[in-house]
């Protein structure tokens, strides 16, 4: 691969940008570049990275999952209540239950999208509201706070292994698993085919419905796991946990070069996109910029990223009509004219 092709790769561009960002922040505040501080950044971003991987699988198939934040908050509340009322249960139960609850919520999305054929944005918009409301019904509006959790519940993600928190290790395993699944398994590759050209995917015998169902289950399972990790990390569960976080997750994917038109995206791009957002969020307080800037900056970064995406795909010269993939041919009723 020659240099210009390398420079055009999203992952390389992002790596350079992240390096520049780190250098700029480090110049203002050298303390930001210490291993301990960078470890904190990684721990803070771990949940976003996992969610972005799950979301990417969904976006690959031309879908979108807006319900991840609500799913996460609901699962988090379930595990929190369990920890409050049954503190004697081993942590393994929570670790098994959280992905399971998330899976069920994701499966509802998947079934409605794949087999009832409702557009993904409509289904997940609906479950975004519904799951969020269910948290209130479940908890009666009360929150679960620090001292009400059992010790193992709070301690598990905080354990340190080789100087890195368990949270980061979990994220590493999940993301590596996703990478292996998407790159080396038959089903993983077929997700790209479904998003790239659903018609062709159908012709080569890929079960589109099965793929769709699968990605929402996957995204839900990851969201469920993250629900426990989020609540444990911040040691509080309430109705508004991670409100609006689904858009940050999608933003990480978009910055990482995942195409919302489907079929394009990589786990490494997603991770870098998520890290980029995470570093910005963590760097602002360090360089004494009001955290209120964070939202505006991430909005600006998203816009820049999508414009860069489109520029790299655009062709030179002005075209009135762009070339598009040939439209699906409707079967016409053709009959030979009978000679009279």
């Amino acid at each position: 691969m020659d240099l210009t092709a390398l420079a055009r790769r999203r992952e390389v561009v992002l790596l350079v940008l992240i390096a520049l960002l780190l250098a700029a922040v480090g110049a203002r505040a050298p303390v930001f570049l210490t291993p301990a501080s960078l470890g904190d950044v990684l721990t803070d971003t771990a949940i976003l990275l996992m969610l972005a991987c799950g979301q990417m699988a969904v976006i690959l198939t031309r879908g979108i999952d807006l319900s991840v934040a609500s799913n996460m908050a609901f699962t988090g509340m379930c595990t929190a209540l369990l920890s409050k009322y049954h503190p004697e249960l081993p942590i393994a139960v929570t670790l098994a239950l959280a992905p399971l609850i998330g899976f069920c919520l994701g499966a509802v999305n998947g079934a409605l999208i794949a087999w009832v054929k409702i557009p993904p944005i409509v289904v997940t918009l609906g479950t975004l509201s519904a799951y969020r409301g269910m948290i209130f019904i479940l908890s009666g509006g009360a929150s679960v706070v620090t001292h009400e959790f059992s010790r193992p519940y709070l301690d598990f993600p905080r354990q340190s292994l080789f100087g890195v928190s368990a949270l980061v290790w979990i994220a590493l395993v999940v993301c590596a698993g996703m990478a292996v699944f998407l790159n080396f398994s038959r089903t993983g590759r077929s997700l790209y085919a479904v998003g790239g050209n659903p018609l062709a995917a159908r012709y080569v015998g890929i079960g589109i419905e099965r793929c769709q169902f699968l990605v929402y289950c996957l995204s839900g399972t990851i969201a469920g796991l993250c629900g426990y990790l989020w609540v444990s990390r911040y040691a509080i569960a309430f109705t508004e946990v991670a409100f609006g976080y689904e858009l940050t997750v999608i933003a990480a994917c978009v910055i990482g070069g995942v195409s919302v038109a489907g079929g394009i995206g990589s786990v490494s791009g997603c991770l870098l996109g998520g890290l980029f957002l995470g570093i910005i969020g963590n760097a602002l307080p360090v360089i004494q910029v009001s955290p209120f800037w964070q939202m505006a900056i991430s909005g600006f970064v998203i816009l820049c990223a999508v414009i860069v995406n489109s520029r790299s795909e655009a062709r030179k010269g002005k075209l009135i009509l762009r070339e598009t993939e040939p439209a699906v041919q409707a079967p016409l009723q053709v009959r030979p004219e009978t000679p009279s």
Binding site: I121, A314, P336
Partner: protein, 330 residues
């Protein structure tokens, strides 16, 4: 030599099921059920003044739903409307602090919305980027600017005359906001269903490429529609800021999803090319009356979101499943 000819089948004869499965009819039935249940559950529901006052809770969203309908009919989506409200409200607040009069405040609100919508449309059409990603970006950017300006403070120093837009009543104690919504609904309905412009909007939604081939300036239409949507969000910002009399950076948080819910429940296909203003009009009342009834029974707002979410999915899933069953029968 035989030539080929395409045979186009005649339109099927209208059956009774077609009428009953029309979206507007289903919505009217749903509205009747909601009204009936609510009036059984609460003696204060069917009160003339209560019903009219309940329109305050949805008029602003309903006004935005009208222009959002046009956007979704052309296969686009605008997630930034609530953030445009925040941005417009902040600029109005800053102007009010600087001592601007009421007409100038309204002008600033509308102009901010217009410009923000134009920015959306310009980026989308200039760079050919899907509307959903652009408006996710501007959604963060616009509300982010509101946070940068206000931080955790609020602006409440509005001139006294400004409250007229969001709090006044016209004849027979009908709120001004509601009348404005009715008038705008008539205008939007006329434009979408009875003019060439409206037909072209459907054409763009059905097949943008074919629409461009037949000479419709697709990108110009989309740019105008996004600008219009921004203007409507600016109008909603004027009404909302006037009604609650304060500006906070989290004003109208989450409204973009409620507005889109209204439109989709109204039978507008998210895939573009179909839907009616009358459907959206009825959906506004279904959601508004359901929320009002639940609030009369002291159901907290967050629990209502369960009803709204389930209603959104069920209202689309049930007709699909019924059609599927009907098709299997013969």
């Amino acid at each position: 030599m035989t030539s080929l000819r395409y045979a186009v089948a005649d339109r099927r004869k209208a059956a009774a099921a077609d009428f009953w499965l029309r979206w507007e009819v289903l919505l009217l039935v749903l509205l009747a059920v909601v009204m009936l249940v609510n009036s059984r559950l609460s003696p204060w529901f069917l009160d003339y003044y209560n019903l009219l006052d309940s329109t305050f809770n949805f008029s602003e969203k309903a006004i935005m739903a009208l222009s959002m309908t046009l956007i979704i009919v052309t296969r686009d989506i605008d997630l930034s409307v609530a953030s445009i409200i925040a941005l417009a409200s902040v600029f109005m607040g800053l102007a009010a602090q600087a001592g601007a009069g009421v007409p100038l405040l309204v002008l600033i609100g509308l102009a901010t919305g217009l410009l923000a919508g134009f920015a959306n449309g310009a980026i989308i059409t200039r760079f050919q980027i899907p509307a959903i990603v652009v408006t996710i970006g501007t959604m963060s950017l616009f509300r982010g600017i509101a946070y940068v300006v206000l931080g955790d403070t609020a602006i409440t120093s509005y001139p006294s005359g400004f409250s007229w837009f969001g709090q006044s009543y016209l004849v027979w104690s009908i709120p001004f906001e509601f009348v404005l919504f009715l008038v705008l609904a008539a205008v939007f309905g006329f434009v979408l269903h009875f003019t060439t412009t409206g037909r072209r909007i459907y054409a763009i939604g059905n097949n943008p490429v074919a629409a461009r081939f037949s000479g419709i300036p697709v990108d110009r239409y989309r740019l105008v529609l996004f600008t219009l949507n921004g203007l409507m969000a600016g109008l909603a910002a004027v009404l909302l800021t006037s009604r609650i009399g304060s500006t906070r950076p989290n004003i109208a948080a989450g409204w973009e999803l409620e507005v889109i819910t209204m439109v989709v429940l109204g039978g507008v296909s998210i895939m573009g090319g179909s839907g009616t203003i009358s459907g959206v009009f009825i959906a506004v009342f279904v959601l508004g009356m359901m929320t009002f009834g639940l609030s009369l029974m002291n159901v907290p707002g967050i629990v209502m979101s369960v009803f709204v979410g389930v209603l959104l999915i069920a209202s689309i899933a049930v007709p699909i499943l019924i059609r599927r069953m009907l098709r299997r029968e013969p």
